[in-house]
Symmetry: C2
Subunit: 141 residues, 2 copies
Amino acid sequence: MMRINRRTDYAVRVMLALAEHPYGARLSSNMIRDIMGVPKAFLERIIAELSKAQLIETFPGPKGGIQLSKKPETVTIRQIWEAVEGPLSLSDCLQNPDSCPLHEDCPMRGCWGKLQKAMLNEMEAVTISNLSTQVMRKRTI
Amino acid sequence: MMRINRRTDYAVRVMLALAEHPYGARLSSNMIRDIMGVPKAFLERIIAELSKAQLIETFPGPKGGIQLSKKPETVTIRQIWEAVEGPLSLSDCLQNPDSCPLHEDCPMRGCWGKLQKAMLNEMEAVTISNLSTQVMRKRTI
DNA sequence: TCCATTGTTTACTATATTGGTAAGCAATAG
DNA sequence: CTATTGCTTACCAATATAGTAAACAATGGA
């Protein structure tokens, strides 16, 4: 039914929870779980993936936690997406045309290729800073 | 991993096979299977769905088959998508905000809402006529 | 030093979705 | 009447998803 992955959704929530605090603030995974309602064990794996992609820095131990590794204005949805899912590929045919049963004329490639391009453009245009200021604006009205 | 549904892909192929013949031409499901490489039994179910959505007309019996019920310039990818998958909803939160665990401030709604909008715009902009002329152009070069 | 607190890693599991098959039914042209 | 077409339903295997559990590693402070 073409839904957003729960993991991806959670990953954006994590980044957003961080973006809603002053830059450099360090949050524990328990705080994020409480703010964003993400199951603990699942959350920790997602945090590890965001860390591997260098979108966040993590610190173990008491007073440890998680913080953004770059300014929220520079973190796009696409980056978060790729951190947890890898590059978007709506169809095998797109990255590997040879595998396509309809060969080089495949009209599907144009169809899904354009759709994928539109998605990537949109995901690249939105940063977690955009999203968090939207929330702020809503809250102050 | 967010892939295009095989059913949706096949549905577009069916429509495209029809669009590549003169308007009003009637193709049997076996012909479409051969042209587009879609497994027979699966194909027939997809055809039934396209028929229910009134994108095609079907005729049983010898000399029966399938034909477009409207001009290919007026058939968009979005229509085909919705015929086999129902309306796009990247997240429950989008159609039913009350179900959202993060309530009315949910920043995810903005995020995925914009992405969904971009996808729908793109899918609405592309018709099977567009796609089939692209193929034709490619073939004649 | 030891312990509580944090993140890391791996293995496992239940459920849903996906992609597909099989078989029998219904309509119809000749 | 029969061969040819589409229609419907039930079923199945493989995979992906969402999540749990448990053992582990780092580290700051008493």
